[in-house]
């Protein structure tokens, strides 16, 4: 498990309107570009990252339940879920999200 990399990608998706739109348009292309960026990192904050096959699958398409079970940071995960849901009813988005994650209880989210 590389929880840090999962969290880093969650941060990247929600970072700006542009990155959110790019991920929504094509999750696989977004993740591939992010992984490619790690090959030539821009200092001082290394760009991009690397994922395991299982983690990549959880992002393509976005699977909140799997990412939660893997120990992604709940604050970051929820905000991406909210961002992907757009201007919809937060309560309804939350109900659907909780149904997905509830079976997994409280996985350790330390990096």
């Amino acid at each position: 498990m590389t929880r840090y990399m999962i969290d880093k990608l969650l941060l990247e998706i929600d970072r700006s309107d542009e990155s959110l739109a790019a991920y929504q348009a094509d999750p696989a292309a977004f993740v591939a570009a992010w992984e490619m960026a790690a090959r030539s990192p821009v200092p001082p904050y290394p760009t991009g990252g690397r994922l395991t096959e299982e983690e990549r699958e959880a992002f393509c398409p976005f699977d909140a339940g799997r990412l939660y079970a893997m120990g992604s940071h709940p604050f970051l995960l929820w905000h991406v879920v909210r961002a992907l849901a757009g201007a919809g009813d937060v309560q309804e988005t939350s109900r659907r999200y909780v149904a997905q994650i509830e079976p997994y209880g409280y996985p350790d989210f330390t990096t």
Binding site: Y4, D7, K8, L11, D14, R15, S16, D17, Y45, P46, Y68, H73, P74, F75, L76, L77, W78, H79, R82, A83, V90, Q91, S94, Y97, V98, I101, E102, G105, Y106, F109, T110, T111
Partner: protein
């Protein structure tokens, strides 16, 4: 000398921002009233500077580089990140700093004894800072020294360290030649969950923790608070409850004095904390 004239503990629930105007829903009226009351308390205390204890939510600080305690020492800081504008409708803003007071804490050439603060010359304040400031000092004209605590990315400093931080802060200010009236404002939560199964459940995620916490603050019983704030205790109350520890900084600064005002306002977001310690 510098002195802490008032300490406040307040929430920073960012979803409040769109809900508290133009018309305040019934369950949030006491929250709006409590912020208005605290705004008056702060004005009456006439602070020169606010030391604002809060925890960035991965907006500027990620676990690529995560300091336990960090002081912002820049003269002017940017407030609110673009994704917070999108999520919460918060206004982008600028907040003046107090580099002189910040340097008192982090040192000039050598780190002073007591706390090895990390420092920042380019703080970018997230909603944990901006929400309290917008309600307590809407004109954003009082200089702020941000004191960031890591309450979101384990490993989180132990509760005792937060109490020691408050005591250290007060001792440092009182021993300094700087002439400052300081308001210590802590931004945090009682029991709170986001991203976990108990989120948006319509009330507090850990009502029993909230009851205990209100007692600790009301009695000033630091040791009881420390005993009840292990990592496991806080996680059990809700996965973001760690930010309660920012109020323990105020308890430490108050040196065990009971808070002069203790209110837990129960609303749709849980129990919103409003604590005041009159130190003048």
């Amino acid at each position: 000398m510098a002195e802490i004239v008032l300490a406040l503990g307040v929430p920073h629930t960012p979803l409040l921002w769109r809900l508290l105007e133009p018309e305040v829903p019934d369950d949030l009226k006491p929250v709006a009233a409590a912020f208005a009351h605290f705004r008056n308390l702060l004005e009456a205390a006439r602070p020169d500077t606010i030391v604002l204890v809060a925890s960035d939510h991965f907006r500027q600080l990620s676990t690529a580089n995560m300091p336990a305690f960090l002081v912002g020492k820049d003269p002017l800081m940017r407030g609110t990140h673009p994704n917070e504008v999108r999520h919460f409708g918060l206004p982008e803003c600028q907040v003046p700093g107090d580099p002189e007071l910040a340097r008192l804490m982090v040192g000039h050439h050598e780190v002073p004894p007591g706390f090895d603060f990390a420092f920042s010359d380019e703080m970018w304040l997230d909603h944990a800072y901006v929400v309290p400031l917008l309600y307590l000092t809407p004109s954003l004209d009082i200089p702020v020294v941000p004191l960031n605590t890591n309450c979101n990315a384990p490993p989180i400093p132990g509760a005792r360290r937060f109490a020691e931080l408050g005591a250290h802060l007060r001792d440092t200010l009182e021993a300094s030649p700087l002439d400052r009236r300081v308001a210590l404002v802590a931004s945090g939560h009682l029991s709170y969950e986001l991203g976990g199964p108990r989120q948006f459940s319509g009330g507090p995620s850990g009502p029993e923790f909230d009851e205990r916490a209100l007692e600790w603050v009301g009695s000033g019983d630091i040791e009881a608070a420390l005993a009840g704030c292990t990592y496991e205790d806080l996680l059990e109350a809700g996965n973001l409850t760690f930010q309660f520890l920012n109020f323990v900084v105020c308890m430490g600064a108050a040196r065990g004095s009971p808070a002069s005002s203790v209110e837990g306002v129960v609303c749709r977001f849980g129990t919103e904390p409003f604590f005041a310690w009159d130190m003048a």
